[in-house]
């Protein structure tokens, strides 16, 4: 049974990405009791799946590590993974929140030795690598996972593999009878930091993501560039494993389009500029980079980054939204068709690999919130008074980069602290 002490002076944070971790730590470090719920088996959210951060081109892992250390040191912070909110009732200062915890089948005494993983044979798409590789039915979600604890895929439960995993564990850390749990928490304020998901590229029909192997998304490209990722950091084509030197990026894939997402996803211009450096770093003078864009949105301090990248990667910028992609059947090259706005030239350009700068949309669909919240047209949470003491943090509120998401999360923590302080004041 999970022991969670929660009162109406407790702050609940939903979503353990960079925004949720920040909000939870900021609140806990003021001395408040905080419970952090994360749906995945580990913390960190989408940034743990990025290779480098713009604009400094440093590694996200270092920021995540600092947060994980802060979390470990703070007794006021309770973290629950594989946890989701099922219901929210009540009012500011007094909410009752239903929480469902899915079974992990692995107890806290797991040492991450990996014996169970070696013992099982079943394989599944690795969600951490967006399906670009496979992982075992007993697995560590990723190298740096926090908590550093294995997971059994529920699909192997009841199979021979489950028994094999259990038998392999020297520490008796595997509990095949784990059936999860349902809890009710009493909290004073809620911070909603459930983040984003990539827009479904299959819905952009003319780009053939579902038909053309060498058309991938920007989130997949991040995994490909990572030395600990599915290709060992080599930029290669999914169709034939050939080196991808001539790489095209298509901006606004699914964003700023009334057939898809209406909003500008705000980070994808910067993400592409960053990713052109991956190509340039990999191939040097042999890199051949094209960026197809409507306009490059590198706002305020990012303008310098844009200028620097243009110079160092020698990427070609083509002002045109690509109309359609076809495949050259002979060599698997995607062929991009469109009209260039500068001169109105019609083009049919071949590349080794095409990366769709895919849009960001809220991870929780508008109709699937366990509580009624004021949302904008795109499904992001509004800072509206009718949301009571439920505050959005990070990308749950709007498409933001990490820096802005973290600032926003700090603001959300402050609002939540004010609510529970009010409660404490009334009770004193």
């Amino acid at each position: 049974m999970t022991e969670v002490i929660a009162t109406n002076e407790t702050i609940l944070v939903v979503g353990g990405g960079i925004s949720g971790m920040t909000a939870a730590l900021e609140a806990a470090e003021t001395g408040k009791q905080v419970v952090l719920l994360e749906k995945r088996p580990y913390l960190g959210g989408r940034v743990s799946q990025l290779y480098k951060y713009f604009p400094k081109l440093c590694f996200p892992t270092c920021g995540l590590e600092i947060n994980q250390r802060r979390a470990k040191m703070n007794p006021a912070l309770r973290i629950l993974t594989l946890a989701e909110v099922t219901s929210v009732e009540g009012e500011p200062g007094n909410y009752r929140v239903g929480v469902h915890i899915s079974p992990r089948y692995v107890k806290e005494n797991c040492t991450a030795c990996g014996d169970c993983e070696r013992a099982v044979s079943s394989e599944f798409d690795d969600e951490f690598n967006y399906g670009l590789s496979k992982r075992k039915g007993a697995y560590l979600p990723h190298r740096m996972a926090h908590p550093l604890r294995y997971v059994l895929d529920p699909r192997i439960i009841g199979s021979e593999d489950a028994e094999k995993a259990k038998a392999a564990c020297k520490y008796d850390a595997i509990d095949l009878d784990d059936s999860g749990e349902d809890l009710t928490l009493n909290v004073g304020a809620v911070i909603w930091a459930t983040g984003w998901q990539p827009y479904d590229a299959n819905r952009i029909q003319p780009y053939g993501y579902d038909r053309i192997a060498n058309v991938i998304t920007s989130v997949e490209f991040e995994r490909m560039a990572d030395p600990s990722g599915p290709t060992g950091g080599r930029l290669i084509r999914p169709s034939d494993g050939k080196e991808a030197r001539n790489v095209a990026f298509i901006q606004c894939a699914g964003s700023r389009d009334h057939n898809h997402l209406l909003h500008c996803s705000r980070i994808c211009c910067m993400a592409t500029l960053k990713q052109t450096t991956y190509v340039a770093d990999a191939w040097g003078d042999d890199a051949d980079i094209s960026v197809y864009y409507i306009d490059i949105r590198a706002i305020d301090r990012f303008e310098d980054f844009y200028a620097k990248v243009r110079e160092t990667t020698r990427a070609r910028f083509i002002k045109s939204k690509v109309a359609k992609i076809e495949e050259n059947k002979a060599n698997g090259n995607p062929v991009l068709h469109g009209v260039d706005t500068e001169g109105y030239h019609r083009y049919a350009n071949e590349h080794d690999l095409v990366v769709l700068a895919i849009g960001m949309q809220p991870s929780v669909p508008s109709d699937q919130f366990p509580v009624k919240l004021a949302l904008n047209e795109e499904g992001f949470i509004e800072p509206a008074p009718e949301n009571g003491a439920i505050f959005a943090a990070g990308v749950a509120s709007d498409a933001l980069d990490v820096n802005r998401a973290v600032q926003h999360a700090t603001g959300a923590a402050l609002k939540a602290v004010q609510v529970v302080n009010r409660v404490a004041g009334q009770e004193a």
Binding site: H258, I294, K319, V339, T341
Partner: protein, 208 residues
């Protein structure tokens, strides 16, 4: 050049975008175009035109009045609707193209001997007469649009389709002598006249 054209030039001077917004059907959408190029890239015929839709919209904003209104580009549009389906901003591109063509014609600037323009005129004349399109007559006049000899050649090629249509009663050979009309032909003509009056009044008002 028509008198109306002169009046419009004086009225709007360099403000061609405003002229389009006020006088062209769906013209108020032109300023919403973000020049992404998807319409041009998706247009199956675009490569045969002088100016694809995206460029036409830019030319309107750049005040290239003469070039736009005398262009044959908008007459080339086949109403396939590819562009409308794809435009990220939801511009009714096809309708704007037709609106521009209509406006150009009204001002007497439409290119002479443009096949689509001729077809459109034949279609219209045919429609207005009886309130419905007489396929046989329209078909015949189309065949002979390019002269009699050419018409016979085309007609021979199309014979199979025409005979098929006769057999399945989709086309009545007697229509060539009169052709049946809509029930209330008088009412229909009144309606067309009224629509024309309203349209004329609007344009006249804009012409100052």
């Amino acid at each position: 050049m028509s008198e109306l054209n002169q009046q419009m030039i004086e009225q709007y001077r360099t403000r061609f975008l405003q002229e389009v917004e006020a006088n062209v059907e769906e013209g108020e959408w032109v300023k919403m175009c973000m020049q992404c190029g998807v319409c041009s890239g998706s247009c199956p015929l675009g490569k045969h035109w002088a100016h694809p839709p995206q460029e036409i919209f830019m030319m309107i904003r750049a005040g290239k009045r003469e070039e736009v209104l005398t262009s044959d580009s908008m007459w080339m549009c086949t109403s396939c609707y590819n562009c409308i389906v794809r435009c990220p901003r939801g511009l009714p591109i096809t309708h704007i193209m037709h609106g521009l063509a209509t406006y150009a014609k009204r001002l007497g600037l439409a290119p002479k001997n443009q096949p689509t323009a001729k077809f459109a005129q034949l279609f219209w004349d045919n429609l207005v007469k009886k309130g419905r399109v007489n396929e046989l007559k329209l078909g015949l006049s189309l065949y002979f649009m390019n002269g009699f000899g050419e018409g016979i050649k085309v007609a021979m090629k199309q014979q199979a389709i025409g005979l098929g249509m006769l057999r399945t009663k989709r086309m009545n050979p007697m229509e060539v002598v009169g052709g049946h009309a809509v029930k209330d032909l008088d009412g229909f003509h009144k309606m067309i006249r009224k629509a024309q009056e309203l349209e004329d009044a609007r344009i006249k008002q804009n012409a100052g």
